[in-house]
């Protein structure tokens, strides 16, 4: 399906609004990290298979908290799982 030619103007004020929204969104994530290529390479990745593994173990841990030692923080892990979504 062919699309009509774009004939539009983005006002400078609107452009500034978009940029400001992006910056404000970023400011809501003060914990966000920037990684260099070496760090990106070294970290283990959660592909679809490993994602399933993490989810299965997490659900198993939530259902069986007594199997974990007291120094294992399920709360901290739950925060990570929620943040990841």
């Amino acid at each position: 399906m062919s699309k009509p030619n774009i004939s539009a103007v983005l006002a400078d004020a609107d452009k500034l609004t978009i940029k400001t929204n992006i910056d404000e969104s970023q400011a809501l994530l003060p914990f966000a990290v920037t990684l260099n290529p070496d760090e990106q390479h070294r970290l283990r990745k959660t592909g679809s298979k490993r994602e399933g593994y993490v989810t299965d173990v997490y659900n198993g841990a939530i259902a069986n908290p007594g199997a974990l030692p007291a120094n294992f923080s399920l709360d901290e892990w739950s925060k990570d799982e929620k943040l990841n979504k």
């Binding site: 978009i18 940029k19 966000a32 920037t34 990745k45 959660t46 173990v57 974990l68």
Partner: protein
């Protein structure tokens, strides 16, 4: 539009890096929890199924060794050293073959020769580190595959 794309791109890179970093943390926590669950499963049968199911996800991982193919002439035998115990010896030819420990091992491993029909396989038994494979056919060459160290 290009300026917006650049600004949004930087933001997306930040999200990607954070998701990657978080993912690594999550895997570490999962590995730790899995080891505790495995330990607990030894004395808690209710956890056994869960641990087994999770463990199945690792099946087939790791570097796979390819099998080596050998040809055995009609009525002939070959000795193959350093076969991997527990892996399959597959008869991929049309001749019937037999498998037994090599002469050096025969006295230590008391076992009769194992017959392997075409398109069949056997697991290399314990102790069969050096094997003697014999082609029973008087006319056909035999072909097998087996993993060696």
């Amino acid at each position: 539009m290009v300026e917006l794309r650049e600004r949004a791109g930087s933001f997306l890179e930040l999200l990607d890096d954070t998701i990657l970093f978080l993912g690594n943390e999550r895997i570490t926590q999962a590995d730790s929890a899995y080891s505790y669950l495995k330990q607990a499963a030894k004395t808690n049968s209710a956890l056994t199924e869960l641990v087994t199911r999770i463990g199945r996800q690792f099946e087939g991982q790791g570097r796979k060794k390819t099998a080596t193919t050998y040809s055995i002439p009609a009525k002939g035998s070959i000795e193959i050293p350093e076969v991997v115990i527990g892996t399959k010896l597959v008869n991929i030819g049309d001749a019937i073959i037999t498998l037994k420990p090599s002469a050096d091992l025969a006295n230590k491993v008391k076992a009769a020769a194992i017959t392997i029909n075409p398109n069949s396989s056997v697991s290399i038994p314990e102790g069969y580190t050096i094997i003697l494979v014999t082609n029973l056919s008087k006319t056909e060459d035999a072909s097998i595959t087996v993993q060696i160290k």
